[in-house]
């Protein structure tokens, strides 16, 4: 059902060449644009991502280097302190006097004070020995006696180490009384110069001032950040360290440690992140940069917009072009179609097409023009020939005078001459002569009404003389219409018909009245007789072709009617009215003047 509807709609859309062209063009263009869009967007996106990766990698490597040199600097301090003679003397000296001891202590104290005051990133500077001597910061703090050194992982690592410093992870420094700060501790064992045993410890606690400065001053975008892991995956520094420690948030740690590449991208929709990793040989730490891809791709949206906008404009231009183009192609076709419709209706004159182009449609139109012209010529020729044929037929018909009539008339003349009725012989003979002259001499198709009436008068005169008292006639023609031309030999056959079929069967004297007048711009010639009349059936078939009268001179009523219609058109011709026993009225209608 749905399929059918779709098909219907499809057919409707593609019902014209123009629409199918526009739709196909549009589909083609849209597909091309889409492919172009996808390809260019992907390409741009890849480029932006690659740029971002190399950019963040640079930043992370830089931070790694900075942190290395920061730790390096601290190591140098620890080296200076632990190799310092004063420190060793203070921690392990046995022979010096208490006064000397005091001076040494004050010298170290001053040194520590300088360090503490100049560096805000150092929480504690501590030196102590297994003999109970210690200096914590400026001397105002003390060691926490409740803590055993052996419980401290970082301290044990430093003491076990033959040489060099050790670096702790982030931890709470509980060795300094009352402070309990989260720090990173850099520690180094101090050898007793007398026994060469590692019998003392120096350590610096680093708070996160420098580290967080290093990590936070580098732009990873608005939401991006940098964090640091130690070699075991514990967090050294994270901008949301407390949230991680509280278990309220989680950070990708396993993935970082296991990652073999220097970056990876997570797929979390708008929270997709680019992780950039840099490991330090020196500290064993891993610096991780986190950037949000949608921030990196900020330019992406703009690019998308520009691409989309351009595509939209291109699409519109394409649609307009397609519309115009298809119009120019289909317009001549439409013109051709309309012309064909005209030809279908038979209007050849208006069917001709004006040519605008020389393309296929142009030559098609040309052929069409030639074809219609040819058809038109043929038709005209056909009509002409038909008309010629009719004319010759007509002429043949017109020129005929019924030979019976002639014989009968001549018989009458002879009979009258024998009877010595000279006057009558003269009248009849002159009438016959008139009749025959008119019949033979004039080759023209038409005669004036006057002449036509004269002809019928001659005919009636002869007939009246033949039928003696049985026939009377009256002719009354308006003066105005006498000169009007009429097809020849119209009245006589009708009168003849009236005599043979009307008057002849009447006992009393028959009367034929011929009247000519102009009515409503048409000429009417009326022949009335008071003869036998016709019944309805006869009246109905009076104009049929078959109803040819063998008594007439061959020019029957049908013939008269046909000739009139042929000559003047279908609205003209012969009309019969008749009442049985009372008479018949024939009206001949032809066009009037003008």
């Amino acid at each position: 059902m749905l399929l059918l509807q779709v098909k219907k709609a499809w057919n409707k859309v593609f019902s014209s060449i123009r629409t199918s062209m526009i739709v196909s063009f549009s589909i083609l263009i849209v597909s091309a644009l889409l492919v172009f869009l996808v390809v260019s967007l992907n390409y741009t996106q890849d480029r932006i991502l690659n740029n971002s990766i190399s950019y963040t990698t640079q930043i992370i490597d830089l931070i790694n280097t900075d942190i290395d040199s920061y730790i390096d600097y601290m190591e140098n301090i620890s080296l200076l302190v632990s190799n310092n003679n004063d420190v060793q003397q203070y921690l392990f000296g046995q022979t010096t006097s208490s006064a000397q001891q005091k001076t040494i202590f004050e010298r170290i104290q001053a040194q520590f004070k300088t360090v503490m005051e100049s560096r805000k990133d150092i929480s504690n500077v501590v030196v102590f020995s297994n003999q109970g001597r210690s200096l914590v910061n400026t001397g105002n703090d003390e060691l926490n006696q409740n803590i055993s050194l052996y419980d401290l992982e970082w301290a044990m690592e430093a003491i076990k180490r033959e040489n060099g410093t050790s670096l702790s992870s982030s931890h709470v420094q509980n060795l300094v009384k009352n402070k309990y700060q989260w720090v990173v501790t850099l520690s180094r064992a101090i050898r007793n110069p007398y026994t060469n045993e590692r019998a003392g410890l120096f350590f610096i606690d680093l708070n996160y001032d420098i580290i967080s400065d290093l990590c936070e001053n580098n732009s990873m975008g608005e939401r991006g950040y940098i964090y640091i892991l130690d070699k075991d995956g514990r967090i050294i520094y994270h901008p949301q360290q407390q949230l991680l420690y509280s278990g309220l948030k989680e950070e990708r740690i396993e993935e970082i440690l296991e990652s073999k590449t220097s970056y990876f991208v997570t797929n979390e929709g708008t929270d997709s992140r680019l992780y950039t990793i840099s490991r330090s040989e020196k500290t064993g730490w891993t610096i991780v940069g986190v950037a949000y891809t949608d921030e990196l791709m900020k330019g992406k949206e703009e690019t998308q917009l520009i691409y989309l906008f351009t595509a939209g404009i291109l699409f519109m231009i394409a649609v307009i072009t397609a519309t115009l183009l298809s119009s120019t192609i289909t317009k001549p076709i439409k013109v051709l179609k309309n012309s064909m419709k005209e030809v279908e209706k038979g209007n050849f004159e208006s069917a001709s097409i004006t040519l605008h182009s020389n393309n296929e449609i142009g030559s098609l139109s040309n052929s069409f023009n030639v074809m219609t012209e040819e058809i038109q010529n043929l038709m005209q020729q056909n009509i002409y020939e038909q008309r010629q044929k009719r004319k010759s037929e007509l002429r043949a018909l017109q020129s005929q005078i019924n030979p019976h009539f002639l014989y009968n008339t001549l018989d009458s003349i002879i009979w009258m001459a024998e009877g010595g009725r000279n006057t009558e012989v003269v009248l009849m003979t002159s009438s016959l002569a008139k009749l025959m002259r008119q019949s033979f001499s004039n080759q023209a198709e038409t005669v004036s009404i006057e002449k036509e009436v004269e002809y019928v008068r001659s005919y009636l005169t002869i007939q009246k003389m033949r039928y003696k008292d049985k026939l009377e006639f009256e002719i009354k023609i308006d003066q105005d219409i006498r000169q009007i031309e009429i097809v020849k030999l119209i009245l006589q056959p009708l009168v003849e018909n009236a005599i043979y079929h009307g008057i002849k069967y009447k006992e009393e004297i028959g009367l034929i009245q011929i009247e000519g007048l102009e009515c409503d711009g048409k000429i009417q010639l009326i022949i009335k007789d008071n003869g036998a009349g016709m019944n309805a059936e006869t009246l109905e078939h009076i104009l049929d072709e078959k109803k040819e009268n063998k008594h007439s001179n061959g020019v029957g009523v049908y013939n008269v009617h046909m000739r009139l219609q042929l000559y003047y058109g279908p609205q003209y011709g012969v009309r019969y009215e008749s009442v049985l026993g009372e008479g018949t009225k024939v009206t001949v209608t032809i066009p009037g003047r003008g």
């Binding site: 419980d151 009352n178 309990y180 989260w182 360290q241 407390q242 309220l248 989309l308």
Partner: protein
């Protein structure tokens, strides 16, 4: 046919314009900032519980871009003042009011008023007699109390005399913790010689403990139910020279408590997670507003910490807030 085609073209053009408008307009829409008011029992920089809780709340507010106002009475047991502050908060017409009710019954009317005004109500840390809250984030104090009970039990024999120093008698937290404690003690509950309440002051806890020690010379075990009670009692015992002889079980977390634990005055302390509590409280409130899934009752958890395990990696994180830059900013 021709007309129809024009219509199609027009529709296409309109569609294009609408699409462009949508793309351009997408960036413009901006949410109104959510406004919340939190009324804790007290703001006291010397009290690490409330300090951490407020820091957590502030950090969550920052995380979720919430306009958070915090107002509190000067004294923890002053529930009348807190009621006045709640009514004041209602006038500000925030989206959510968060309260740590000071009084199990006394705060009830004020918080009912919050609900009546159609403002969302979230409790942090404590509750009131009737469940009028949309959500509550608190330590399950019955469980926390039973953790104290479990530790205490290992130091108890048939002759042990126990005293309990509670904080505020009418507060839900004290009631629940003591209930949990007594539940674990079971029969030995009868060995509790006395339960006193210090109204959440160090001084009163100190003096009450002194009196208890005098009153019951054979006292073996003292249990404190919050920071004020535990530290006040521990200091009294320490000052009386009874440390080690009279065992102490503490509650909550502060540097002083940590030191007393290191020294062995406390055999153990049960710590709550105030930072989490504050953070989760705001988070729940946010979820309610955003129609996201939230819990009507959320336990922020508690842990038992003894001298032996106090410096493990996990417990360090529990006992000592990481005072990074962000934390400090959240505190200010």
């Amino acid at each position: 046919m021709r007309n129809q085609k024009h219509k199609i073209l027009l529709a296409l053009a309109l569609l294009g314009i609408v699409a462009m408008g949508w793309v351009l307009g997408r960036g413009v829409q901006e949410e109104n900032q959510i406004k919340m008011v939190y009324i804790p029992k007290i703001i006291d920089n010397n009290n690490e519980f409330w300090t951490a809780l407020i820091a957590g709340a502030r950090m969550a507010a920052e995380e979720y871009h919430i306009d958070l106002t915090i107002i509190a009475p000067q004294r923890e047991e002053d529930f009348e003042k807190q009621n006045a502050l709640i009514l004041e908060a209602i006038k500000q017409n925030p989206d959510v009011i968060l309260v740590s009710p000071s009084h199990y019954t006394g705060t009830l009317e004020a918080v009912k008023e919050v609900r009546k005004r159609g403002i969302k109500l979230v409790f942090i840390d404590s509750e009131v007699k009737e469940p009028v809250w949309d959500s509550i984030v608190a330590t399950d104090n019955f469980i926390a109390g039973s953790k104290m009970g479990n530790l205490a039990k290992s130091y108890i024999d048939d002759n042990t005399e126990i005293a309990v120093v509670g904080h505020v008698k009418s507060s839900s937290t004290a009631i629940e913790r003591i209930r949990g404690l007594e539940y674990i003690l079971g029969k030995r509950k009868s060995q509790i010689v006395e339960t006193v309440f210090c109204d959440s002051t160090f001084e009163k806890a100190y003096s009450l403990t002194e009196e208890l020690v005098k009153k019951y010379p054979d006292l073996d075990l003292v249990i404190g139910t919050n920071e004020y009670a535990a530290v006040g009692a521990a200091n009294a015992i320490k000052d009386l020279g009874m440390a080690g002889k009279i065992k102490m079980v503490g509650f909550d977390n502060s540097i002083e408590e940590v030191q007393l634990l290191e020294e062995g005055v406390f055999v153990g302390i049960v710590v709550q997670k105030p930072f989490n509590m504050g953070y989760l409280g705001i988070e729940q409130a946010y979820k309610i507003l955003k129609n996201e899934e939230f819990k009507v009752q959320l336990d922020s958890g508690s842990e038992l910490i003894t001298k032996e395990n106090m410096y493990t990696e996990e417990n360090q994180k529990l006992l000592f807030p990481f005072v990074g830059r962000q934390f400090r900013e959240a505190q200010d």
